[in-house]
Amino acid sequence: MELSSEDNNLTDKVLPPVEQESDVELETKVKKYLRGEGANLETLEDKKLKTHLASREKLYGKSAKAAAKIEKWLLPAEAGYLETDGLEKTWRVKQTDIANEVDLLSSRNQYDIVLPDFGPYRLDFTASGRHMLAGGRKGHIALVDMMSMNLIKEIQVRETVRDVAFLHNEQFFAAAQKKYAYIYGRDGTELHCLKERGPVARLQFLKNHFLLASVNKSGQLHYQDVTYGGMVASIRTGKGRTDVMEVNPYNGVVALGHSGGTVTMWKPTSQAPLVQMQCHPGPVSSVAFHPNGHLMATSGKERKIKIWDLRKFEEIQTIHGFHAKTLSFSQKGLLAAGTGSFVQILGDSSGGSSHNYSRYMNHPMVKGYQIEKLMFRPYEDVIGIGHSMGWSSILIPGSGEPNFDSWVANPFETSKQRREKEVHMLLDKLPPETIMLDPSKIGAMRPSRRKEKPSRGEIEAEKEVAIEAAKSTELKNKTKGRNKPSKRTKKKKEMVENAKRTFPEQGHNTTLKKRRIGEDAAAELPTSLKRFARKN
């Protein structure tokens, strides 16, 4: 018996350690492709369903393994890296050093475009990273093809431009101008003037839903479907004017940062925010989302950057030091923070579930440049910096996803492929109801819950809707002297009162406990005076 166990130990050791390591690696990759835990089939009583689901789970396992193997062997490119040896630190490496080490094609991506006359520039990239839109505050809008560094179109709108955003591809873009937002075509023709929104401060486009989201100067959030132009939702946030708006690419919710330090998350189908988080003691300067959807970085005026876990809504990490006016996450998880004329890139030193962001690279720019917006270019190791004297681009090794999927975003798209992709995107357009905090809930079973009381915000919203409905009902036109104005106003007031009455007062729900006077007093006194409270 002992001999056989020794034999087993020997066979374990016979496997070379490299093989074992790669098995472990493959396991982690397979986990990524499995997309969560398998179903628990033990609790099922229906045998037919059980066997059917068991065979399905096996198939999922097989496909996850195949995908992991493809990732290991068949992907054409590998991610970039910056490794220093010995005492040298990565953040001391300058862009000039990088330029010396790297090939010619990459060093073409380091440049400064100086346009001092047209104000701080805001940037946007298309999903494939091929085209860039730069909008200067004094009205200069430029559409650039980044691969050939070709200026496709530049227009001067002669008004303040507060933000620019691409729509679903480089053929259309939107600009938030002084009074309204406008949509332009690729050749600079103005296609639409979006009057309903008012003066827009920030614009974001939700790609899967074809929704153009914007927040305007009075803090109203608008969602418009650009395929047919209908306004899907206009939400009064009630929190005042804000300049901070970001879309979470994982689930499509829009996050607004407010001057009270709260970050609220919105979806178009509800008037109340999904989540309200108190992030900073002062105003929130900037918000950024990690592409995996679990991490959010916020920065406040108190010179702290906080990293939040969105599954538990807990703070993971605080980075002290500087007031980051703009934040951006790259596809590989690097965080860029810009303040004044200084860009700092933070990298995740530990992989896996625990995140620990530490300094990775720095880039000080010319003193006069005030950074307006940072944005990593998709699928490239490049970050675009929009500042007060134009825009620049620097190399950050290890920030871009090395392998693109032609069906998702293809930087080498031909016009025919672009047209077909547009049709497929329209066919796969999601309705706005699918925006939710956890998008994997679609197709899952909803746990049966008892009827919950609606929250206060929802009750308020419903009440307002009911009052509006009551106010807007048309009264019958009575004849023969029965249509006196005083009677009409009385009737209308009655209807509004009735509508209000269906919503009980908030205070009445809480049960008032009968407390003795003495106890009340004892509760109110500070601890040092408690011994003087009257005892009964």
Partner: protein, 452 residues
């Protein structure tokens, strides 16, 4: 210090010449595809809707008989042809692709009740109410035959007269015996004018007979005394027998699992049995409103088609309790016989209105040669629809079938009757001592007893 940055040169990622295909790169990482479940759900919804748009199952009707079609036979060696016989003794061989008669086999004086072809396809056996069994030589189909519109008239190669009217006939799968059902079960040889073997049990007539595709000596019959009997030719009497509450009109063996058989019953249900254990049905297939007249399995063994007295044809999965598909037309009257074509693509139904109708087995299938890309797209649509077919919106579209008004109303009535019976049963149980009232499962309820 080691640095590497991503740099893509366009000649690696674009095609060299304009005659080449465009290059496609894959990365299956889930983080590149946000909201993939929502996108899949939208695609499932669209796939369900497209399936309904392309669902045109009726291909054509074959017109020619002068009285209702009573039975059909298919020739396993010749996919394009089907034999059919009518109530006035007219037997025809049809070419399905052109939907025209190729040959006629006149001779029977009364209704033809049974039709079957031998396994090599050369001999056609027919039997009828005029107490005769006729054997015909089927002409070899050549290219000229199918293009020429003139019909051939064939004379029978043999004619055997016997004592009683016949109700059904079936040919052995490997061998040259065939069995006829009439007052008793008779086994014949091609060359003999009298039956080689006879089985009798009681005084009731045998109404259908079917040989087992796997075992050449086993056959199943159903009789008008509501019984299903399994005979073995090597033994002198019946092997197994069960008696049900209502009579079985037709039986079919599963070609892929030859121990299982499915019986089409008069009460509107089809019962699948394991041939070795007949006391409990494996599955009860309920959806027909009136008596099920005929049943035939698909060559894949995964589905079977039934034709019923309620003017509809339904396709059931072999292990599912409800039908996957229903076909009906205003002009199709009582369906007396159905056949599933040998390539599992078509369903042929013969009905009382003298027409044979050709339907597609999968209503939205694209017939003809399909390009590989189209095939992949169809498979993807099918897979994504099956993944989300439990969600309410998709389920509503996938499940939706237009039913003719009589069937719709009858289903409502049946449902109300069953609900009230069930409620009464539950209340009786609740008000009596636990254990005194035992409900039999549906699989056993319709079987009265097993007799040896």
């Amino acid at each position: 210090m080691r640095i590497k940055t991503l740099s893509r040169s366009s000649d690696e990622f674009t095609r060299e010449r304009s005659q080449d295909l465009q290059r496609v790169f894959h990365n299956f990482d889930p983080s590149l595809r946000p909201m993939e479940k929502a996108v899949e759900y939208q695609r499932a919804l669209k796939a369900a809707k497209l399936e309904k748009i392309f669902a045109r199952p009726f291909i054509g009707a074959m017109d020619g008989h002068r009285d209702g079609v009573s039975c059909m036979a298919k020739n396993p060696n010749y996919l394009k042809g089907i034999f059919s016989a009518s109530m006035d003794g007219d037997i025809r061989l049809w070419d399905i692709s052109s939907r025209r008669t190729v040959c006629q086999f006149p001779g029977h004086q009364g209704a033809v009740r049974g039709l079957t072809a031998s396994t090599d396809g050369n001999v056609l056996v027919s039997c009828g109410t005029d107490c005769t069994v006729r054997l015909w030589n089927v002409p070899r189909p050549t290219l000229e035959d199918s293009s020429v519109s003139s019909e051939n008239i064939i004379k029978p190669s043999a004619e055997y007269v016997w004592k009683n009217a016949f109700w059904a006939v079936d040919h052995q799968f490997e061998g040259d015996l065939f069995a006829t059902a009439g007052a008793q079960l008779d086994i014949w040889n091609h060359n003999r004018a009298q039956p080689v073997q006879s089985f009798q049990w009681g005084t009731d007539s045998v109404i259908s007979v079917r040989f087992n595709p796997g075992e050449p000596d086993i056959l199943a019959t159903s009789a008008s005394d509501r019984s299903i009997t399994i005979y073995d030719l090597r033994m002198s009497s019946a092997a197994r027998r069960i008696i049900m509450m209502t009579k079985t009109n037709s039986i079919a063996w599963n070609p892929m699992e030859p121990m299982n058989l499915t019986a089409a019953n008069e009460d509107g249900n089809c019962y699948s049995f394991d041939g070795r254990k007949l006391d409990e049905a494996k599955c009860v297939h309920k959806d027909h409103v009136s008596a099920v007249m005929d049943i035939d399995f698909s060559p894949t063994g995964r589905e079977f088609v039934t034709g019923s007295y309620d003017r509809s044809v339904r396709i059931f999965p072999y292990n599912g309790g409800h039908s996957r598909e229903i076909y009906h037309t205003k002009r199709m009257q009582r369906v007396f016989c159905v056949k599933y074509s040998c390539d599992a693509t078509y369903v042929i139904s013969g009905s009382d209105d003298t027409n044979l109708r050709l339907w597609k087995a999968k209503a939205s299938e694209q017939l003809g040669v399909i390009l590989p890309r189209e095939q992949k797209k169809h498979e993807y649509n099918e897979a994504v629809k099956n993944r989300y077919k439990h969600l309410p919106e998709v389920k509503r579209i996938v499940r939706h079938r237009h039913l003719p008004k009589p069937i719709y109303k009858a289903l409502g009535v049946i449902r109300a009757v069953n609900d009230s019976k069930r409620r009464k049963e539950e209340r009786r149980k609740a008000h009596s001592a636990p254990g005194t009232i035992v409900t039999k499962p549906l699989r056993q309820r319709r079987i009265i007893k097993e007799v040896e």
